[in-house]
């Protein structure tokens, strides 16, 4: 059986924010599909988990939502970044880049013989 990575705690939020930053207003299903595509199907993502995460972002004021109509004429709830959300993407992305860079350096160290 193919081994898929579990989603790392806290990264889902950033992925959602980044998705919204790139795609603009998107519904939950679209966000979930996009994350899966970008990750190249390396994640086993339960689509359902994006909804509580979206609600949390909304409660914190980083996204807002409204009902709209999808490309193929279906009613769907669209999420959009707020100004605070846009700042948050940059902030979190910078922090994450820094963390991964540090971690990469650790992992690349030569093991003592």
């Amino acid at each position: 059986m193919e081994q898929k990575a579990e989603i790392v705690q806290g990264t889902l939020t950033l992925m959602i924010l980044k998705t919204l930053a790139v795609l603009g207003p998107t519904h939950g299903y679209g966000i979930a599909r996009r994350i899966e595509e970008i990750s190249g199907d390396a994640f086993s993502l339960n689509y359902g988990t994006v909804y509580p995460a979206l609600l949390k972002l909304e409660q914190e004021g980083f996204v807002t939502s409204e009902w709209g109509v999808s490309d193929n004429n279906r009613k769907a709830k669209y999420y959009r970044l707020t100004a605070a959300g846009r700042k948050q993407v940059n902030k979190e992305a910078a922090a994450w880049t820094q963390t991964t860079a540090i971690l990469a350096r650790f992992l690349n160290m030569e093991e003592a013989k």
């Binding site: 339960n46 689509y47 359902g48 909804y51 509580p52 609600l55």
Partner: protein, 900 residues
Amino acid sequence: MRAVRAWFAKLAATFHEDRAEHSLNEELESHLALHVADNLRRGMTPEEATRQALLKLGGRDATKEAYRDQRRLPVWDAALQDARFALRTMRRSPGLTGVAILTLALGIGANTAVFSIVNGVLLRPLPYRDPARLQYVFSSSPERGFPVGPTSPPDFRELRDRNRTFTSLSAYFNSAPNLSGDFQAERLSGMVVSTEFFDTLGVKPLLGRTFRANEGVWGSHHVVILSENFWRARFGGRPDILGAVLRLDGDVCTVIGVMPASFYFMGEQQVWAPMAFKKGDYLDSHNNYFLNMVGRLRPGATREQARADLNAVMAGIAARQPENKGIGAGLMPLSEQVVGDVRRSLWVLLAAVGFVLLICCVNLSSLLLSRDAARQKEFALRAALGASRARLLRQFLTENLLLALLGGCAAIGLAYAAVAQVRRLAVDLPRIEHVGVDLTVLLFVLTVSIAAGLLSGLAPYLGGSRADLMGSLREGRFQTSAARGSGRVRGALILAEVALAFVLTIGAGLMMQSFSRLLRVNPGFDAHNVLTFDISLPDSYSAGALPTDLTPPARLTGFYDALVKRIARLPGVASVGVSSALPLQSKGWIKFLSFDGRPAPASIDGVAHVLFHATVGDYFRTMGITLREGRFFDAGDNASGPDVAILNEAAARRFFPNEDPIGKLIYLFPPEQLVPKGEIPAGFRFPRARIAGVINDVHYAGLQTAPEPEVYAPLAQSDSLSTMSVAVRTHVPPSSLISAVRGEVSAMDRNLPIARVSTMEELAGSSVALPRLHTLLLAIFGALALGLAAVGLYGVIAQLVAQRRHEVGVRIALGARPRAIVGSIVARAMMLVGIGLAIGCGLALALTHLMSTLLFGVTPTDVPTFVGSAMVLMATSALASYLPARRAASVDPIVALRCE
């Protein structure tokens, strides 16, 4: 910051849960629809497309649950869940819930009613600016028998001008000016105040202005301030009242201001006039002490500093004025002076009613205990399924708090009704108009409800949690360990209940004893069929009289003589009399008493004092006062006849212990040789009066106060007194004569009103209104306590007996006689009651002395009351435990055994 925002978003969401839930459903359905559409496009069958979409979502319900967790506040959610569960539990047992709420409503309602009185009378700040700095200032002369007394105008002026600790000091005294002129004559209630009075209190007028300093000077003093109520009632609130003129006591006074209805100072006044004295006015001397004072302390000045300061001024006066020797000054917070003696009695009532609430809590506890015993299995099951002890405790407390809050709501209704009753009963209570259910009272209800809920929730928790929850699950109905644990708690509840109820019954018993003794006091007069009213003659009746006159002017005495004759001729009138004081209303005047033919005391301090009353007409017969010796006054005892006097028995006993007072000569002055030289002409002798009779003692100061030695004299032979009380004994209901009497007075003087019209029976009733209220309330609390204790005891015994049903069945099957079983159950209950009584007795001994100022003729440790209360409680308890015991013993053993 973001966390706070999220918290508020969650809080807001709890209020529209339904809408949020609906939106969530729609969103998930839209998600699935989009996904299914995609899947179909990829060529799946419709079934497979739906299945895959749901699988990928991670399940509909799991997603919703995760979403809801994010949406809600965790604590709030659990609390709501608890509350909903509690409501369901209550609905399942409406009887128990009803009893619990009723118990709490009674307890909290009674507390709320008493607290609203305490709040209105004691706690609400006085309606003045910065009232904490206001002080009641008084003269003090403990050696002369008045530790707290009024001051004289010259003393007041020196205190006001020389003190260094008050920003403002003012004086006031009550007055009752007659309003005449274009209106029907009316006697007003008023106050004469020094001009800085309103500034001292820091109050502003509704209209116009307050007094200016120059209006305290004789000649510029013809101004008056009206109360808002009087202005509206008498002048229809007409806006042009400022500058209008009123005839007050014959003087023309200009209205300069109107005080708002919210202003209140020592009773209700309709008019305020500035204090001003004519040069040489007899009142304005060091011999006349009639002014009350109120002062505003300087910021930072303490009462002790002020006392020292005032006394230094008084010492300065005494150095110049020998008659001021020994007169100092004192002060107390104004609020204490306003409330006075009522403070103690209100705290006693609040304590008593607090005890009632404690009994209610105990009852509720035992009620909940029996309910929770029945729910033992439910709790055990929940604990077994993983509910933490804290979670179960929270469930308990939520249920109790909900009960308590419902009880509190019912209590507010009860309190409203009770407060209306109290206001009707206690018109004499100071500041009674402030008694009502306000925000403070509602906060009190909330606090007390929560406290009661927690308190009564505590005992079941102690009983319930100590029991091994798993054990009770396993054992099924043989809950021996649990039963023993809760049995101990129940025993403690009985003890507490009996002890508290005992204290309250003793308190109520003492009050009732005291009140019945008060009512048994012989007042010394017959109140039946007597109409009374006051008349205050204006200065014009004394016109031309000299301050040195020793008897009143003929015009004044002539008025009363004629009035008595006119009223006596009215149909339905038996007799008429006039007196300077009415029984149960006031002590009267205090005068010196000296005896002809006895050696004078060494100094003026040794001269005897008596209370003095002047009378006109047939006062004694009208009041139903009986003659012990000699004769009453008659028509010959007038200005031209020889001076006569009548003593009461107390005076005869005190001053003539071993001789017959009739015919002896007395005078109401100090012996001439003790009067400072120059005050009376050389060789002058005060007029001597011959004692004509002795009458029975009459209670003038109130039923509680023992009659003091008194001397009566005919008005024509005594001082000039402008205000007198008229008494009319009738053959018909006295109130039916009011208009006829009023007609006679105005026929004599169109501008003369009659005031304080009431029957002697009404006066007698209102003189015991406060003791009656105290007794009534304590009796209600005592009866409530007794009833609650009986119900509580019954419940606890019934519960204990029910648990021993099996045992009783076995014993009866083995041949025990039912009566023996009843006996053993009752005996066990009574043992607990006995211990409770012992605890209560100790508690009562420690507490009842706090009531001693409320009691009349009974000591706080009155043995018959203690024994009687104990017997009442024993009898009630015996009955309350006998009933369930008998039911248990009458059970058919087969039934009891088969139950297992």
